[in-house]
Symmetry: C3
Subunit: 365 residues, 3 copies
């Protein structure tokens, strides 16, 4: 489906951020992931669990049930399912029918995010979690902002498109992070088998009032923006501000913000958006004098969320359209191509183990 080719939706054999750590606890949380209702909760030991979100008996949402020990209990007829998906109790009978179990989803907690694998569990290798490539996120020395979350009323690839073409900073985010001629500056493109990277060096950028106020940067700066896409839904990179004229190969930036975005299909026309950022300890100490204005950061993301929702609205009301590709889209089109290749590989393997033996080039920045 647009903006991918007809019939293609999303790859399943990969890790997606499904929830923030703080959202999942001893009360069940329902969330649609790739068109399937999933229920999330924590065991008594605190381990997060993801199970199919619909009771196989009568279809009641388990997100409306309750947690008992390490199990979720259906709120309708009381079937109890343990964290491994097996049914351990049915109030109305002694024996458990063989098919009475819930699909389980591999779920791994890294930092404050819960990564879920919607596809074949046998293929769920933790080493493939894309944040392994960006140690900053899990390095406790770096100071992270608690992750933000949006339910976006638009298909996930529109949000990937957004993150793969940063020329929109100059327009959509003109008042905040659009400082310097991002749109007019050509990017350097790097690419591996399942990742790609865009790097822009913007000399002598005039920063916005927003950057001045929220980040304490005053004069013109040299700015380096990098964003790496670990297909199909993770984006990490940095937004670095150097004193104008600095030797950015050797000098230390005045401000080095690492950024992390995770995009997860919810339904065919909606997605989940998780985002956070991190600064190194030195920068953090400096920024204490200029405490970050969280409200303003929310403003940036809200602009993107609304833009995706508006595009989806027109797709729904007026149908698909013929895109005019620009030079700035080369990177985003490669990203779509990468996502499509993943989907096609899954479709052609029909359950066979896809070739994930390829080297992981998208290592830390």
């Amino acid at each position: 489906m647009y903006p991918l080719s007809a019939g293609l939706y999303a790859p399943r054999n990969c890790w997606y951020v499904a929830a923030r750590s703080a959202e999942v606890g001893r009360v069940p949380l329902e969330r649609f992931i790739l068109d399937e209702p999933v229920v999330f909760y924590r065991t008594e030991a605190g381990e997060a669990v993801a199970l199919a979100g619909r009771c196989p008996h009568r279809g009641y949402p388990l997100g409306r049930g309750r947690i008992e020990g390490d199990a979720v209990v259906c709120g309708y007829h009381g079937l109890r399912f343990e964290a491994d998906g097996h049914c351990s109790h049915i109030p109305s009978q002694e024996t458990i029918p063989p098919g009475c179990r819930l699909k389980t989803y591999p779920l791994v907690e890294h930092w404050e995010w819960l990564w879920m694998w919607p596809g074949d569990p046998a293929l769920a290798d933790e080493a493939l979690i894309p944040d392994n490539r960006t140690p900053t996120l899990t390095d406790p020395a770096w100071v992270k902002r608690s992750p933000l979350y949006w339910k976006v009323e638009g298909r996930y690839q529109l949000l990937n498109d957004n993150l793969l073409d940063l020329t929109h900073l100059t327009v959509l985010h003109a008042d905040t992070i659009g400082g310097g001629d991002v749109a007019g500056t050509r990017e350097r493109h790097e690419e591996g088998e399942d990742w790609m990277r865009s790097i822009r060096w913007i000399p002598n950028a005039v920063v916005t009032d927003w950057v001045r106020k929220s980040r304490g940067i005053v004069g013109p700066v040299d700015r380096e923006i990098m964003l790496t896409f670990a297909a199909p839904g993770f984006h990490y990179g940095h937004d670095r501000y150097f004193p104008a004229g600095a030797d950015h190969g050797n000098d230390r930036p005045s401000l080095d913000i690492h950024i992390f975005h995770a995009v997860t299909p919810a339904t065919r026309t909606s997605c989940h958006y998780f985002a956070s950022s991190a600064v190194d300890p030195v920068t953090f100490e400096l920024s204490r004098k200029h405490p970050p204005d969280t409200g303003s950061a929310v403003k940036i993301f809200t602009e993107d969320v609304e833009a995706i929702g508006e595009i989806e609205r027109l797709l729904g009301a007026a149908g698909d359209f013929e895109e005019v590709p620009l030079r700035a889209d080369v990177h985003a089109l490669r990203g779509r191509h990468m996502v499509q290749a993943m989907i096609r590989a899954e479709l052609s393997s029909q359950g066979a183990i896809p070739d994930r033996s390829r080297p992981q080039h998208g290592d830390a920045h």
Copy 2:
């Protein structure tokens, strides 16, 4: 359609509760019954009438018209239709075109309910109205609660399923009528051609706070729950509380509540739910000391209404699913089978008179 077989919706040649008496008067009421808009009102003599709810001239809803004498007048161009459906006046012409009439639906008022027959009027035999089988409802000596009504945002058979499997009392209604191990107690199943009955005897049941407060029952009790399904949409029975250890074949219950539920398809994915209860005069006198808490009774039904809505929500968002049948479902599956048999008989007869000569076993309890 789920939970019935593909393509099967609802039988038409049968009586359904369409409205409460108090809802229908000298202002037209529109209600969808089996996917058709129907308009209800009363003649000057007070007789309730059910006519097709859409003016055949330009499709305006007659529920937005007004009542004039015994007729409903369309609010758009003023066509007047009498209670027998014929058009008696057109403001813009003298003659009435032959096809200008409304379909009428047989409608019978029993107690505070209006029973409607959506199918072939020639087959509408009042003797088939299922409340004939439970004289309590129309016996003035029994003290009835005025009927409650809910529009349920879920397909009607989900609500039938609910009423055919009372093991949900232990879980969904744990705080109110779930006292005693209803789920763990096997039911006795009885069945006739168009009815079925479930009876449970629960000795030494600990009652809930809600029963204590709202019904004045204190100690452990022996409880008998019976519910009879007169397909396709009427359920009647009793909830009897005996002193623990009583001879329930001979002793008089401390409390004998008769219950009545009517389920009527509105659209493919919504239904109407009517419910009431009755107590005998002696019990009523006793219960005066413990006036019933209507708010709490509403809470019970609201739990069911929300549960059906939640199941429908997942059916809409995630599609049908593979059910795991339990032992407790034997009764409910027979109920689905009975409803399906009625639909199939209608489809195969293609308008021929179905065989309703079968004996009516579902007599009064």
Copy 3:
């Protein structure tokens, strides 16, 4: 589609009112016209412009962009489109790809309305704008009420049907403009190739309180109602009140209200409704003593808007139905026929110039 034949929607090679003058300025306005998003704005010289409302780059709605000089700038990546639809600036590159342009729609401002031609621009002849046939609208001597606007949640032909059968005045507008037996009075029908007219002479009409209060008419009157349909969406005419018994061929009416309605398809199941009225200077002076009650006029239109919405609601929920045609529908059925003929001529010509050389009979009243 109902009430037209299956598969027929709306003619494209004709003028439709798309907006009121006051709605269009230096902030972009999005409006769906015949299922297409269109963006409206004014150039620095004040000329109103209509362009395709979706950026061809990434599908962002241009109605969320901003106006810069004579151009609209997309709010996502900053593509700038001039009033002739060509792209004059892309922030991220120097060259403009050949296909990067917006469809333009011919747009003409007459009085306080903007007329748009959704079809082949080569055929957009200003002489075809149907208000040319009713000079009152653009004659500054006549005193016009500023036009009203409603988004109607029903398909446009239902609103045309409404305006083509004024017998509904007697019922739907009984309290306002329904005075005199409009429904019971036969109309005179006149017709040309692309227009038709209905004229009713109602002697000795008792006027409503509403007319008494809002228009200062007291005693019984002779009333003449004329409405001309310039297919597919413009209706103009008059509502004339004479002293009872007047020689309406020679006498001057006490009150002569000219009325103008424009109906424009928005989507398959919704439309735009524009309406205004005018009185001659003499009448205006008289009516100063009885200042018009705008609130009451809004009430009339709201009744129509709600009626159309209600019919559409039933079409959506209960499907199409078999219409019973009345004598009063002869006029409206001719109107549908005329609209269908326009659509079929366009379909058969497949882009060839349709025969618009027919004489324009629907001249001024």
